[in-house]
């Protein structure tokens, strides 16, 4: 199987699942008491927090393990929102118009609870309009939340510039970054990014599913959004997913082992696929920016004009190749993707968008094998389409 959907989820290598099994089979206890097994597990969790914290230049006490990236976002966004509203009455949250559902849906939830949500427009490459952001801040604003690497455009939001804007204001404006598609792929330093919260998800960087983490800057208080026993933390109560946490730590260790080398390898792969698609397939549109620093090399998104993405995705799927699409036809409720719409793509351009996302396990050969199939699939579907101009049909 050729797999190019690593930003949706990624496979779990042996080193990781062996660690998961270890904490299911032998070290299955929870850090609940003075019992020796509990103490040793508590130490392992602490070491995992220290390690993961270090990868983003944070302390172990600033690293909270959660049951997913979505939960991490909820603990941060709902937690700070409720805390500030109760304490100061500020109730305005600013987010981008093309955010990942992990942020968009939390904002919608809070809107029903009396918060106001300001949506900031994005440009055609998916970057937040910073001028608009600056103008939108009002005396009620207490939080700005965005997706560091956009799930559709792959663009890297200029976090440190956003931070500078927020710092101009007398009253503290908190800054949340969803780094699910950035962690383990791009170098992250919470001080340089200037964020107060940062979340990531284990299964996006070859860790297990059902685990994530949240960076919470020292000194920040959050309202609890859950009730439950606090074996591990009162912000994320209940039994912690210890096999998941330890597996995620192993996945992080693997990701950071040859970080630069992996980054450069994926950058080359990404450029190679970009070059081949633009040379070998006519009428394609790149969604998002291109160039180092602007886009995560782990992410490419192309619209293939005149045909529909679900058909492309399924054709590739039946040929043993996994990609993803933003097409309405592949969505649960048949709605056009709001993120691409926010970037100014029309319906047809959105329907034809295919996302290829890489991992360090992809090879040049994978791309060669993909390109043995992709141009023919596109041509076959174009030959059948009602929209294809005559000059793009097979003679």
């Amino acid at each position: 199987m050729l797999y190019f959907d690593n930003c949706r989820t990624s496979f779990v290598p042996e080193e990781v699942y062996k660690e998961v099994i270890k904490y299911m089979e032998k070290e299955f206890y929870i850090p609940a008491s003075f019992v020796s097994q509990g103490t040793s597990i508590a130490e392992d969790i602490e070491k995992a927090a220290e390690y993961i914290g270090k990868t983003i230049n944070a302390k172990s006490t600033e690293t909270l393990f959660t049951h997913s990236g979505t939960e991490a976002n909820n603990i941060a966004v709902q937690g700070i929102s409720k805390f500030i509203k109760n304490k100061e009455g500020r109730n305005n949250i600013i987010i981008g118009a093309a955010e990942h559902p992990a942020i968009m849906s939390v904002a919608k939830l809070l809107e029903k609870q009396g918060f106001t949500i300001t949506l900031i427009s994005v440009d055609k490459e998916g970057f937040l309009n910073l001028e608009e952001l600056e103008k939108s801040i009002n005396e009620k604003t207490f939080l700005v939340s965005t997706t560091l690497v956009n799930h559709m455009a792959g663009c890297i939001q200029p976090a440190s510039e956003i931070k500078k804007i927020l710092e101009k204001h007398e009253k503290k404006i908190y800054f949340n970054l969803d780094a699910a598609e950035a962690y383990g792929k791009l170098k992250l330093d919470v001080n340089e990014l200037g964020c107060d919260f940062l979340s990531a998800s284990g299964h996006k960087f070859h860790g297990p599913k059902g685990v994530g983490f949240l960076y919470i800057k020292s000194g920040i208080k959050l309202e609890k959004i859950y009730g439950g026993s606090d074996y591990y933390s009162d912000l994320c109560p209940g039994g912690p997913n210890i096999p998941g946490i330890m597996g995620m730590k192993k996945a992080a260790e693997l990701a950071y082992q040859n970080f630069e080398q992996n980054y450069n390898k994926v950058k080359e792969l990404s450029q190679y696929l970009y070059d081949r698609i633009t040379k070998e397939i006519p009428a394609v549109i790149l969604n998002g920016p291109w160039g180092d620093g602007k886009r995560s090399p782990y992410h490419i998104n192309f619209t293939f004009e005149y045909i529909e993405g679900e058909a492309i995705m399924m054709f590739l799927d039946f040929s043993g190749i996994t990609v993803s699409t933003a097409s309405a036809c592949a969505s649960k409720n048949l709605q056009t993707d709001y993120a691409l719409k926010a970037m100014g793509r029309n319906h047809v351009e959105s329907h034809g968008a295919i996302r290829f996302t890489f991992s360090r396990y992809n090879t040049k050969e994978d791309i060669d094998n993909l390109m043995k199939v992709l141009p023919d699939v596109i041509q076959k579907l174009r030959d059948q389409s009602t929209l294809t101009p005559d000059d793009l049909r097979s003679k």
Partner: protein, 213 residues
């Protein structure tokens, strides 16, 4: 958790569709659907002695759009026009061993394209002008094409549209649609867009007004 999966037959008809393409000297060509909604089908018919001698299709759409258009052309080929008029989306879906609920509209679109082609052909032969104006009959016909996936039935049968009213507005007409669907329903926007697209095709439809639940 709901499973969304295509049958092997859908996959086969999608990967190797029968009757894909164009008939250059077709007797009638009809198109239904819109690219904005993500699906559009064109059918080309060659008719001899009131029989569908040849039929081909083009499709802009998803896997099931291609598969349903293909199967409908197969079912219709060789049939008389009267026989072909009785083809319905249920039959097409059954021939494909079923469709996921969110894909039933593809089958509806494919059958609608065929019926439109036959209707246009008959009008052409008889010299009668086709009326595609706002009438109760035409509204019902159009609403029957809008499928509410959770019930796998159209919006009238599903009682998603409680009733409708035609408001005369000079030469043009406005249509009031009385909805019976929660705004929270995941298909709320899709259903409204689908109703707008279908009723919008009526020639003198000036405006569609939704009256919420």
């Amino acid at each position: 958790m709901k499973k969304i999966q295509y049958s092997q037959k859908v996959i086969d008809y999608f990967m190797n569709p029968k009757n894909a393409g164009k008939i250059e000297d077709a007797d009638i060509v009809a198109t239904e659907g819109s690219p904005a909604c993500g699906d559009q089908v064109t059918m080309y018919l060659k008719i001899d002695n009131d029989k569908i001698k040849d039929i081909k299709f083009q499709s802009y759409g998803c896997a099931s759009n291609i598969a349903t258009a293909s199967i409908v052309t197969e079912i219709a080929k060789g049939k008389t026009l009267e026989e072909a008029k009785n083809i319905n989306w249920q039959e097409a879906a059954k021939e494909l061993d079923g469709l996921p609920a969110v894909k039933i509209h593809c089958s509806v679109l494919a059958v609608s394209t065929l019926l439109k082609a036959i209707e246009q052909y008959e009008a052409k032969i008889s010299g009668k002008e086709l009326t595609n104006t706002v009438t109760e009959e035409n509204i019902i016909k159009k609403l029957k094409r809008v499928i509410y996936p959770p019930t796998e039935k159209d919006v009238l049968e599903s009682n998603i549209v409680r009733e409708f009213k035609i408001i005369a507005y000079g030469k043009d007409k406005k249509i009031e649609i009385f909805l019976n669907i929660d705004k929270e329903d995941e298909f709320y926007e899709t259903i409204k867009e689908d109703i707008e697209e279908n009723l919008g095709e009526l020639d003198n439809c000036e405006e569609i007004i939704f009256i919420e639940k």
